[in-house]
């Protein structure tokens, strides 16, 4: 299995669990939950660099490359938007917004992996 995918899934799931946990403790977004979302963003950046390098060194996307990059560029916006949206209202619900970012990126990563391996269409 693709190590990039495994690491990404772990980072996303860990971030979502931390954020839901903080919400259950009735915490507004704190350093831990915000940093966990930052880790998701950081992973996506590393994934993008990795994907670019792999494609340039002769490991092409088996599906549609523009679809893959469309997903990736959109995914990069998600943690940033969730961060912006959540800090404007400091209630525990904002932590679930942060958790939703991790889950959304998780689903998108799953699709990106399918496109990378050339499985199924939209």
């Amino acid at each position: 299995m693709d190590p990039f995918f495994v690491i990404g899934v772990l980072v996303c799931v860990l971030s979502a669990v931390l954020c839901v946990g903080a919400a259950l403790l009735r915490q507004p977004p704190n350093d831990i939950t915000i940093l966990s979302v930052a880790a998701v963003e950081l992973f996506l950046l590393a994934y993008a660099v990795g994907a670019a390098v792999r494609q340039l060194t002769g490991e092409p996307v088996l599906g549609e490359p523009w679809e893959f990059w469309g997903y990736l560029l959109t995914a990069l916006v998600v943690p940033v938007a969730a961060f912006w949206w959540s800090i404007l209202d400091k209630t525990r619900w904002s932590n679930i917004v942060l958790a939703a970012a991790g889950l959304t990126v998780f689903v998108m990563l799953f699709r990106m992996q399918q496109i990378w391996e050339g499985v199924a269409g939209l």
Partner: protein, 163 residues
Amino acid sequence: MGRGGRAVSSRKRTDGADRPGSAEIGLDGLPSSRAKGPGRLLIAVYGIFALATTARAGFQIATKFAEAPVAYLLSALAAVVYVVATVSLARPGARAYAVSFIAVSLELVGVLTVGALSIFDAQAFPSDTVWSAFGRGYGFVPLVLPVLGLLWLRRTRPGRDGP
């Protein structure tokens, strides 16, 4: 948290309770009661669906419109409904409230109608639209979302406990 500018002063306030005269600043500098507490999450999920359905409808119409025009036009309609719902829920005011009520109601009608039709007439509604089979492809979130949306709109209706 050491960062300044805490917008909400009371951490313990009951969720969804409108506080008249609240200093909370909405998207465009006006107070918005619908974008607080649970509404924050609701709008975020609507935003995610707005993004996902717009991208998908654009892709379907651009690449394979002739395969199932009715379904893909409905895909586009769903995308518009999600975008309108997201924006109007986030905006303050009675007019935005009315618009969001219409959008969320349309969404409920849409997911129920398309969901039922997709089961009886699979030809016209291939399973790759948001509302097919009551949103099964999206974990049934499209079915639950308008119900939660209407409940939230009922709790935050103008004049309930505000001015």
